[in-house]
């Protein structure tokens, strides 16, 4: 690669090189023919050199090497397919009553049985799974977005003089405010009212009380990155702050964001089902896994074991994938070694 001819060929061969005999003076020759550059040249003939594996390839290998990634993905895919196809092909709907068979166990017609109100449990579980999945994923994405905006802005401006520190302080206090208000009470207060409009209101409502911790972590990570030399260099080049944030800061914390979002899905699902179970979540005419569980009859296990099992399988699958993702993206975190 960097052999002297490369530059000597150009018209402007320097005074430096004209006066230097590479034979007599190996290191001077190294100015153009740096031995170190030559050694580390990443050519294909060198076999499996360290650099030959791209980051994406490395991540994929690390991820798929992990058995928990496979288990998580398989369970999650099965559940998603069930949630999508189940209600399409199943003969009963979630609110169709079959009172003649009320409180009977699983049969060829009612796969998971019928509860005491004559509602088919399989139909309700699948419909509930749909709703819970949508709310879980939607909430996690919205939470991440909110946390990203607040966290990165706060972290970025905290070093920008007096006004920056003031703005950072205001945002941190906002985070603290949201952390101390009793979110469960507010959720119980607002949820039934907003349900009147649409069940989708559940997403912003849950996200509104879940973004704070992520935002704090993102703020700290941004503060660290702002001090790195490449962000400093961008500032000295006159790069616009928003461009700096999207081009330099977000890509460098992306792995953490991805992991947090994945794990946030299971947290959101648990939050939503919990609320629904105590009656403040998803309301008629929608069902979630929580409302299905609400109709339990302790003496008839088939009324509550199927939705509980589906819920547990969903959360476990997502967590398995999240952990595997963390091990792949951030192998030094040591989360897998207990």
């Amino acid at each position: 690669m960097t052999n002297p001819n490369d530059i000597r060929g150009t018209e402007d061969a320097s005074a430096l090189r004209r006066r230097t005999d590479p034979e007599a003076n190996p290191v001077m020759g190294a100015a153009v023919d740096d031995p170190e550059l030559r050694d580390t040249e990443i050519d294909e003939s060198a076999g499996p050199a360290i650099e030959s594996m791209s980051r994406g390839e490395l991540l994929r290998r690390r991820f798929f090497r992990n058995p928990s990634a496979w288990i998580g993905m398989v369970i999650f895919l099965v559940l998603v397919l069930m949630a999508v196809i189940g209600p399409m092909v199943y003969q009963y709907g979630p609110f169709e009553r079959d009172l003649r068979n009320a409180l009977t166990g699983p049969s060829a017609y009612h796969w998971f049985g019928v509860n005491e109100n004559g509602l088919d449990i399989f139909a309700r579980t699948m419909q509930g799974l749909r709703i819970s999945l949508i709310i879980g994923i939607g909430t996690a994405l919205l939470t991440t977005f909110l946390a990203l905006v607040v966290g990165i802005v706060a972290g970025y401006i905290s070093h920008k003089g007096k006004w920056g520190a003031l703005g950072d302080g205001a945002l941190v206090n906002l985070i603290n405010l949201f952390l101390v208000i009793p979110s469960i009470l507010l959720l119980m207060l607002f949820s039934p009212a907003l349900q009147q409009a649409s069940w989708l209101w559940m997403i912003p409502l849950l996200a509104g009380f879940a973004w704070m911790l992520t935002a704090r972590v993102l703020r700290a990570m941004t503060q660290q990155l702002v001090r790195t030399e490449y962000v400093e260099a961008a500032r000295f080049m006159g790069v616009h702050p928003i461009v700096t944030m999207t081009r330099h800061i977000i890509p460098n914390i992306a792995s953490w964001i991805i992991i947090d979002t994945t794990l946030g899905v299971s947290a959101a699902i648990l939050g939503e089902t919990g609320l629904s179970f105590i009656g403040f979540g998803i309301q008629y005419p929608q069902v979630s896994l929580g409302t299905v569980l609400q109709d339990y009859n302790i003496s008839a296990p088939y009324t509550w074991i199927p939705p509980a099992a589906v819920l547990a399988a969903l959360v476990i699958a997502i967590n398995l994938m999240g952990e595997a993702l963390r091990d792949a993206l951030d192998p030094t975190s040591g989360s897998s070694r207990i």
């Binding site: 003076n25 001077m28 690390r62 890509p251």
Partner: protein
């Protein structure tokens, strides 16, 4: 020769990794005899540290080791951890690179030294051990040892911490001291003191020493024998004079030739090979044709009476000022076109603050900064944005200065994008810039992690050159690089200056590097410029005492010169203490 204290035979160490097995050390054999100082020299990644950790038995469990290490008749690999612990600290002790992380921050320094004494001599009373700690601190030249022993590590300066580490290392009169880059984190004047101290401590207790370093200058004054390592293998082993005056291997010669020398002017009289390549670099810089006198060249940067004061505040809610730190205290200098001014000083002298003040392009607290004749305080937003392309910066750490998530083409394009270059022009320039700094245009799509340190620094320089700047500020551009790579980068910089006529402000703590590249030198101390003059004049005839002190502290890679400069610096009486033979007889210690 006497029985070897430590003998290493066919040592190989390898680690498993994502990319297959990494061979850190291969077939290394050496012996260290009583009272002898062996230096293991190599560039980063040559396996020098791993080999010494193996001797201490401190390698991580994942490492697979073969070969044999014998220490005073003990086979190290056959000992269990408990037996090894008895050896560590008592017969072998270690001085680490970073004294801040090697001392526990929550214990007093005296306690930590006393602990080392008491662990290996449990019969010693607490009061006696503390007294011993004070004596040891006194011996290594720490003023007011009684008071200092009760202080915590953060209250010590870097040099004092390293002294305390040495006190700890010699506390039990070990047979072998391993010093792993003991002065890399220290300023040059402190480095000289610590190396002198280590040498005299070693001579005092008659211990064998293994010094691990990348710095040939340090080696010359310290070692009896030198072992050169490269790519996990031994290259050459010989006495210090052999290595420096008649090296057998080409690599040793290259390594020595790349070492910058502060005494470049009189190098003709030296028999040492060291610095021969850098010598030529200096010549090229000096006589690149008949340049017009400096007064006739246009001024690129002018700094007048620049002051930057940081308030020291106290209190969390109501901040009140309790004092101030005058980081930059009224400095003035100017840089002409095509000139290289070196700003030299130790850490805390205000170099970086000066640089930041210039790069801010704002009104300084006091004084004036003019770039190309324009005052930075009076700029409009637009002018300031345009000026960003005229003054660019190259950072010290090539690992941190490039965004790891961007291919280098995008990194180099970034300043051009800000200045609104067209897409075709950017692509064209990226090719040209990469060629200019000695990389291939085909590399443009690669990410920074795929490059070595020297190559990354070249990318950093390419980015700085992207918009045809008038002035490049180089913030210690080579201090994170290995010496042969440093020589390459310096040569490239000298070449760029000769070819493109760009001016440099070269900030550095290393006088020997600066000597080869700069036209003029400004020596900074405590926020002031104490001496400013032509490089040659400052080096041959330094006016200010601080410049003289700096110059005399720079290690010289020539064993004869280095030996002549050494001074005694351990206090023998204090070491022997009030009781003299305090330590039990060697038989008891077994």
């Amino acid at each position: 020769m006497s029985e070897p204290i430590l003998s290493v035979r066919d040592l190989s160490v390898s680690f498993p990794s994502e990319y297959g097995t990494v061979h850190a050390v291969q077939d290394l054999s050496y012996e260290v005899h009583k009272g002898e100082a062996l230096a293991i020299v190599g560039e980063s990644g040559s396996g020098k540290s791993v080999s010494s950790l193996a001797v201490m038995g401190l390698l991580p469990r994942t490492a697979s080791i073969s070969g044999e290490i014998e220490m005073l008749g003990h086979r190290m690999f056959e000992l269990d951890d408990r037996q090894l612990s008895r050896l560590r600290g008592n017969t072998i002790s270690m001085v680490f690179q970073d004294p801040l992380s090697a001392l526990t921050p929550v214990y007093r320094v005296g306690e930590q030294i006393a602990e080392v004494v008491r662990i290996h001599h449990p019969e010693t009373s607490k009061a006696r051990a503390h007294q011993r700690a004070v004596e040891l601190l006194d011996a290594v030249g720490i003023p007011e040892p009684g008071r200092r022993a009760n202080q915590y590590p953060h209250e010590f300066s870097g040099g004092m911490r390293q002294r305390a580490m040495i006190a700890m290392a010699i506390a039990n009169e070990p047979e072998l001291i391993i010093a792993d880059e003991p002065t890399t984190a220290l300023d040059v004047t402190i480095q000289a003191q610590v190396m002198d101290l280590l040498k005299s401590a070693q001579e005092l207790i008659g211990a064998a020493t293994v010094l691990i370093t990348h710095d040939m200058g340090v080696v010359a004054g310290f070692a009896d024998r030198v072992l050169v390592m490269k790519d996990s293998r031994m290259v050459e082993l010989g006495t210090v004079d052999e290595i420096f005056y008649t090296p057998r291997e080409q690599y040793t010669r290259d390594l020595l030739a790349a070492v910058p020398r502060v005494d470049a002017g009189e190098a003709g009289e030296s028999r040492s090979v060291a610095g021969s390549a850098m010598q030529k670099l200096a010549e090229v810089v000096d006589d690149d044709g008949a340049r017009p006198p400096r007064e006739e060249m246009p001024t690129v940067l002018e700094v007048e009476e620049l002051v930057r004061v940081f308030p020291i505040t106290k209190g969390a809610i109501v901040r009140r000022k309790v004092g101030e730190q005058r980081a930059v205290d009224g400095i003035s200098f100017d840089i002409r076109q095509g000139e290289c001014l070196a700003l030299v000083g130790e850490s805390g002298s205000g170099k970086t603050t000066t640089l930041m003040e210039i790069m801010q392009l704002r009104t300084p607290q006091q004084g004036v900064i003019r770039i190309g004749g324009k005052e930075t305080g009076a700029l409009t937003r637009k002018e300031r944005a345009a000026l960003r392309s005229d003054v660019t910066v190259v950072f010290q750490d090539p690992m941190a200065a490039l965004d790891p998530r961007m291919p280098i083409a995008d990194i180099i394009k970034e300043p051009m994008r800000v200045q609104g270059y067209s897409k075709e022009r950017m692509d064209e320039r990226v090719d040209w810039l990469l060629k200019m700094v000695g990389l291939l245009p085909e590399h443009a799509a690669r990410f920074p992690t795929e490059f070595s340190g020297g190559q990354r620094q070249r990318v950093g320089v390419a980015r700085a050159l992207a918009c045809d700047p008038k002035l490049i500020i180089l913030d210690e551009p080579t201090s994170a690089l290995d010496v042969t790579v440093q020589a390459g980068v310096l040569a490239m910089l000298a070449d760029l200056r000769a070819r493109l006529g760009v001016s440099f402000l070269f900030v550095s703590h290393d006088l020997s590097v600066v000597r080869h590249i700069s036209d003029r030198i400004a020596v900074m101390q405590k926020g002031r410029i104490v001496e400013l003059g032509d490089t040659e004049e400052v080096f041959t005839n330094p006016q200010h005492p601080y410049s003289r002190e700096l110059l005399s502290a720079v290690p010289i890679p020539d064993p004869e010169v280095a030996r002549a400069r050494r001074r005694e610096s351990i206090d023998r009486e204090a070491f022997e203490g009030t009781t003299g033979g305090f330590l039990p007889d060697p038989e008891d210690a077994e």
